[in-house]
Assembly symmetry: C2
Homo-oligomer: 360 residues x 2
DNA sequence: CCCGATAATGACACCGGTTACCATGGATCA
DNA sequence: TGATCCATGGTAACCGGTGTCATTATCGGG
């Protein structure tokens, strides 16, 4: 009995080492060094692109590494560097499509660099928000993080990251940071385009469903829209502006308010596509046909905007490119570059079928 | 000049260590050991829940760890374990919404476990596909991976993973593996429900837009649908079945074929929502109204299905729950459990407004 | 009260890379 | 030619944990 307990005990102590096949033995830096007849330090120099290696030596070592399919162990390197080769994607964004597209762009940007992308959604309203991020960043010793809106606008967060020596790149709708740490879209220009488009068609009474408070894009989109109208002598009537939350339901709610106005708007600009879809819904329920009775413009150009009927005129945001750019900015420091180009992307209005001149 | 070169050289050799703030000094296992007046091995035992620590000692150490906010370094642990604390999400799936939702479920499942999720999209048709995954798994010494359809059905891939001692969980539309490594949905039951629903309404000539070859779900969905029809004495006419690719465009193409048939079907089952959206489009172009002239059923219950008009009757798939379950299965081994429950999820038909009896 | 068995703990090498520092040899200069 | 300097490669210690195995408490029984 006692003997048995002991027998069981051993594997229990080595709890993490279960019966599964051991990972394949990979070549180590020592193997390479032995084969190349150099010290492992020299191999390390080659790995890290040190300029202090004779060209011959470098070539010979590189060849051996290639032959053996050797890739240095990121964990070991990370341990020594006190820094992992992981990049965190931190977000709390209601728009799944936006997140996944951004993710793809980022992965595109880090491809082949040896870095991996670790996703970390969070809850910006939780009291533990900062602690949660801090723990994540500290524990994983992240090389850097990408912040998506709206948490990219949180200055406490970026201060925390700097304090921990963690690189970051913000993705935002306005200029919030130095070029090296910012990938931005110029939402004002885009919404101005939308406003001009509606004004061109002759709309004068226009409704606006805004983004949620706390999003910089809310401010930017409204500002661009309103300024453009003003330049043409038009204005947003106060009762024609309602809050939204970038969700379908909030779009429905907003549209209900706008369309039950005595003097209802002839066009509605919803600050994202999801909300625009809500406007379609209410328009249909109210017996209004789009675009004859009501013009609708959205923002995002999600795949859905094309599935709606009639297809939604909306603003296309180069999310994929922004993701690629963000990843490259994060990695630039590795190569000793300090990017100074602003990388401001310009969203563009794509005209489809959801707008028309108002009925006379 | 020479002096200057030397001055520049030093930081260049330490290329990765740039001028940025050093990461905060965190408590290490040695700190804990010193404070608790034990060896670091004992602290390690506490960290790993070894049963060979006196209760007093464990408590004392645990308290100190809590006080100092100590969390063991996953990199160092991983190095020693020869295994990281990362979980890979490997996918090549055309449906972004599916991926994001699954991702969220997985993250939900690993929350608090100290594991992180590393996303790794890939191209299953690339000749380098297996090598790419192998490199990823080997390099990062992943604790385990989650495979989404259709690559979850790739037996070469799973063989490779086993060979490397890498745990995996497959997410699939049929029983492909042992319960411990499988999270499945029973697509047959769901599509049978869809078939019965259409048959109940009196449809006899029904079109089917299939999934792409290579997806197990293609087989399952068709089989469930066809068998249910057969039980009621109905059958799928050969010309009423067309290939799809789970994309909007393929839905459009398929619907064009089906709706230009001399004897066109009165109902179409599209094997996912994206393709169903394509059917809406073609129906509208053809002047057919949904559901009076044409009933449509989809599969997935993506957010979009609700934005379409009329709202799409479709099959809801508990993706989030499946994700959670997949993560838990992967982590179960840690706690010494071997899950034997099949975790077969049953998608359900959700009735909305896109179906009606055929015109007499 | 002592002994053997068992539970609890510790010493030390090691995981796979890195840095700090030292040793060497060749080139340069007076 | 010797002193000085630079480029290069080697060695040992370290990053923060874990495995192995030896060693020290603890306990029940004779």
């Amino acid at each position: 009995m006692a003997r048995k307990a002991q027998a069981q005990a051993r594997p229990a102590e080595a709890v993490a080492e279960t019966a599964r096949a051991a990972p394949k033995r990979r070549a180590t830096i020592n193997d390479i060094a032995r084969l190349a007849k150099v010290s492992k330090k020299t191999v390390s120099r080659v790995i890290n692109d040190s300029p202090f290696v004779k060209e011959d030596t470098r070539k010979r070592i590189a060849e051996i590494m290639l032959d053996l399919g050797y890739e240095p162990d990121p964990q070991a390197r990370g341990l020594a560097f006190r820094r992992s080769f992981l990049i965190g994607l931190i977000y709390d964004n209601p728009n799944a499509q936006f997140v996944v597209t951004m993710q793809e762009g980022l992965l595109d940007g880090v491809r082949g660099s040896g870095f991996e992308l670790v996703v970390h959604p969070c809850d910006r309203n939780s009291p533990k928000f900062l602690d949660d991020v801090r723990s994540f960043v500290e524990r994983q010793k992240l090389y850097g993080v990408v912040l998506l809106p709206p948490i990219s606008e949180n200055d406490k967060l970026t201060a925390l990251l700097e304090d921990h020596g963690c690189r970051y790149v913000r993705v935002a709708s306005a200029v919030l940071d130095t070029p090296a740490r910012l990938v931005s879209s110029n939402d004002r220009i885009a919404t101005a385009e939308a406003a001009n488009h509606l004004a061109d068609m002759g709309h004068t009474r226009i409704g606006l469903i805004e983004g949620p408070p706390g999003f910089r894009s809310r401010i930017e989109r409204r500002a661009g829209f309103e300024e453009a109208l003003k330049k043409r002598g038009l204005s947003l009537s106060k009762d024609c502006v309602v809050d939204g939350a970038y969700t379908y339901d909030s779009g429905v709610a907003g549209a209900k308010v706008l369309l039950s106005l005595k003097n209802r708007p002839t066009a509605i600009f919803a600050c994202n596509d999801e909300m625009a879809a809500g406007v379609y819904q209410v328009a249909r329920e109210s017996g209004l046909s789009v675009p004859e009775d009501l013009s609708i413009v959205g923002f995002d150009d999600t795949p859905m905007s094309n599935r709606l009927w009639p297809p939604l005129t909306t603003v296309r945001w180069p999310i994929l490119e922004m993701g690629r750019s963000a990843a490259r900015k994060l990695l630039a420091e590795l190569r000793g570059e300090t990017p100074t180009t602003p990388d401001a992307f310009e969203p563009r209005l794509v005209l489809r079928k959801s707008t028309a001149p108002p009925r006379p």
